[in-house]
Symmetry: C2
Subunit: 386 residues, 2 copies
C-alpha cells in the first residue's frame, strides 16, 4: 500500500521544525520511498522561549505545561500547512502525518523513584484537526513500555531504506551527538548494531558560538586552519565513554556546553581560538574512527559509511574521518537522494507507515526492549475533500 506522509521533527537543539513530505510503499526491507520535498520552519519566538525555559528549569506549573502541549500542536500544524504551501502539495493528498513532538523530558533508565518514561509535546489532536490529516505521534512510549529505552528509533528506518545495498553498511548521523546504525547484509534486526560514538556538532558548535560568534564551523574551515593542541586532544580522548561497550548512548551531560566551556576557559588564554576548534574537531573525528575500529570493523565486513545530519556538511570533519579510516568509503547521504538534514523526519514517516500497516518497528538490539512493538498512537480524523 502506497501512502503519502509528512514527517515532523524538532530536536533538542530547538533550531526549528524539519518537515519532510514523501511517498512510501511496502514493508520493511521491501519498502520504497520517494521524497517529494523538505522545508525547515522556524519556531514562533515566544513559544520557543517558553519551551526553552521549561526544559532549562525542568519545573513547570500544570497550567503552563497543559497549554504548552496545545500551543506546540498549533505550531506543528502550521509548519505542516506552510511546508505544503511552499512545496505546492495539497494537504488533502496527504495520508498521514508522523509527528515526533518536542521532547521536554526523557528518563531512559530508572532513576531513584522515577521510572523509565518520556514526554514529547505537541498535541496530535490539534495537528489532525487543523490539517484534516490523521496523525501518528508519541513514538517512543511503546518501546519504553516494553522495557526499552525508547531510543534510538531511527535504526529501523535505516534498515528499511538501506538494506537494498545488500552489504554491511553504516548509517551515521552527525547531529549534536554522533550515532551510527550498522545495517547488516543479513537484513536481520538481531544483527543490527546501533550506538552513540560521542559528540558530533555539540562541542564544535559551542566553541564556534563562544569564540567566533558563529552558529557552526561552516565546512570545517576554522578547524582546517588551526593546529592540534596535543594535551587537550589527549585529555578528551581519555573520556570513559569512548571505552564503554555498545549499545551505549550519551548526551549533554557528558559533552554539553558546561564541559566545552571548561575546556575553552582552560585553553583560550595560551592558544589560538581556531586551534581549540581544530582540536575539538579532531577529537570528534577520532572518537568516530575509534568506535568503528573497536566495535564495528571486527564484526562486520564494512565497506562504506553514509553520513547524514548537519555534521555531514562539515567537509573537514569528514576528511579527517576518511584519513583515519582509509579502507572505508566515507560518503554523504545526499549521494542516495536524501538531503543531509532530511533523514530523521523521514525515519518517522517510515515508522508511522509501518504502524498504520500494523507492523512493529522498534529494534530491540538498539533500544533494549524485551519485544517488538508498534510505535506511535493514531489520532483519526474526518477527512476533508479539496
Amino acid at each position: 500500500m502506497k501512502r503519502r506522509g509528512i514527517g515532523l521533527m524538532s530536536g533538542t537543539s530547538l533550531d526549528g521544525i524539519d518537515v519532510v513530505i514523501a511517498e512510501v510503499c511496502g514493508h520493511f526491507t521491501n519498502m520504497s520511498i520517494d521524497i517529494i520535498g523538505k522545508a525547515h520552519i522556524s519556531f514562533d519566538e515566544t513559544l520557543l522561549n517558553d519551551v526553552s525555559n521549561t526544559i532549562k528549569h525542568a519545573q513547570t506549573s500544570l497550567a503552563d505545561l497543559c497549554s504548552l502541549n496545545y500551543r506546540l500542536g498549533h505550531q506543528f500544524a502550521d509548519a505542516v500547512l506552510e511546508a505544503c504551501q511552499r512545496l505546492q502539495v495539497k494537504i488533502e493528498s496527504v495520508d498521514f502525518i508522523a509527528s515526533h513532538g518536542q521532547t521536554i523530558y526523557h528518563i531512559g533508565e530508572k532513576q531513584g523513584h522515577h521510572i523509565p518514561s518520556t514526554m514529547q509535546l505537541g498535541e496530535a489532536a490539534v495537528i489532525a484537526e487543523k490539517t484534516g490529516v490523521p496523525v501518528v505521534s508519541n513514538f517512543r512510549a511503546a518501546d519504553i513500555a516494553a522495557k526499552g529505552q525508547g531510543a534510538p528509533l531511527v535504526p529501523y528506518a535505516d534498515v528499511a531504506l538501506f538494506s537494498k545495498l545488500n552489504e554491511d553498511v553504516a548509517l551515521h548521523n552527525l547531529g549534536g551527538i554522533s550515532n551510527l546504525t550498522v545495517v547488516p547484509q543479513s537484513k536481520a534486526l538481531d544483527d543490527v548494531l546501533a550506538f552513540d560514538t560521542g559528540p558530533a556538532n555539540m562541542m564544535i558548535d559551542y566553541a564556534m558560538r563562544t569564540l567566533f560568534n558563529q552558529p557552526y564551523d561552516d565546512g570545517g574551515q576554522t578547524a582546517q586552519e588551526g593546529s592540534i593542541i596535543e594535551p587537550l586532544l589527549n585529555r578528551c580522548l581519555e573520556h570513559a565513554f569512548l571505552k564503554k561497550t555498545p549499545p551505549k548512548s550519551t548526551g549533554r551531560e557528558m559533552f554539553g556546553d558546561d564541559v566545552t566551556d571548561d575546556i575553552i576557559e582552560a585553553y583560550k588564554a595560551k592558544h589560538k581560538h581556531k586551534d581549540i576548534v581544530c582540536t575539538l574537531t579532531e577529537f570528534t573525528a577520532m572518537s568516530i574512527a575509534l568506535a568503528y575500529r573497536q566495535w564495528v570493523l571486527p564484526r562486520y565486513d564494512l565497506k562504506r559509511i553514509i553520513f547524514s545530519g548537519g555534521g555531514a556538511l562539515n567537509d573537514y570533519l569528514l576528511k579527517r574521518v576518511q584519513t583515519l579510516l582509509p579502507e572505508i568509503a566515507v560518503e554523504t547521504i545526499s549521494h542516495y537522494g536524501i538531503k543531509e538534514d532530511e533523514k530523521e523526519a523521514l525515519a518517522f514517516i517510515v515508522l508511522a507507515h509501518e504502524t498504520l500497516s500494523q507492523y512493529p518497528s522498534n529494534v530491540p538490539t538498539a533500544t533494549g526492549a524485551q519485544n517488538r512493538v508498534m510505535l506511535g498512537q493514531i489520532q483519526p480524523v474526518i477527512r476533508r475533500t479539496s
Copy 2:
C-alpha cells in the same frame, strides 16, 4: 460489528478506578450494550498521594510528571488485569480498552496566555503493552482542538444508550457535580441539551467528612433526621450559577471544600450538625429541580429522569427531588440494567467503539465544538493468543 471493551474511569475525587467490561454492537442510536461486569479498584497509596499532591500544588518537576504518567499507566493496566480476574474474563477476549486517564489539569476556555487544553495522565502504551489489548485514550483533546470545551463527553453515550426509549428523557449523573443530558425523542444531536446544575455530592460529602467523620451520607439518613436552616438555604439559593443560562459547567471553584468549609464554620456553633447536612441536601435537590423548571420542562416533554452516580444511592435526596418535581418520574439507572456507578466508564466504551469504527462522537451542542470529531487516540498492539 460486535466488540468487547473495557472502560476505565478515575474521577477528580480520586476515590479509585471504575472498571466496566461490556460488549457493544452497532452505531449511535442502533447501538446495543451488554454489561459483563464491573470492578472498583483502589489506587496504590504512594501513587495516590503523588497524584493528589501534584493536582493540589498545580506545580511539578518535569521528571516527576514524566514518571507519573507512566506510573498511572501501570496502575490502570493492573486495574484492568485485576478486574478481569475478579470477573473471570480472559484478557485475550477483550478487543479494546477505553481509558479516560486521570485529569490533572483542564483549561476549558482561554485564560490569559493559556489556551484551551487538557491533560489526562496514564500512558496508553503502558496499558497496551501490559494487557496486550489496543487502547483508546485522550478522548477530550479532539473536541478541544475543534474549539469545544472537551466536556461533557457522556451525552453522546446517553443518546446512544437511551434513545430507544423513544421519548424525551433526562439522564442525570450525581457525582461530585450534578449534570444532566436531555436525550430528545427526535434522536438528533442538535436537540440534545446537557449542562451542570450545581453540586451533587460535593458539599454533602465534605460536610459528612468534617462533621461526622464519614465519607458520605449513607442513603441520606443524616439529612432525613435533620431540619432545614432557612437562612443557610436562602444564602445557598442566591448562588449566581443557578441563574446562568445553559450550557454551563461548574466545579470545585464554586461548590468545593473551601465554600462548604465557610458554611460549616458559620453555622456549626448554633445549629445541629445534621441540620447543616439536611440543608445542603435540600439545596442540592432544589438546585436540580430549579434547573428542570427553568431550562428543561419548558422545552421538552419530559416524563422521567434517570439518575446515576453515587448520589443516586442517596434515597432521601432523590425523594426530595421527586417531591419538588411531582409530575416527573424519578428513577435510577439500575432499573435499566446499569448499576449507578457504571455509567461513566461505560460511556467511554461507547466513545472508543465509535472511534474504532471511524465515527465521530462529540456533541457540539454540549461542548461548544465547531464540528463533529472522532474522540481519542489509538495505541495499537500486537495481540497475544491465550
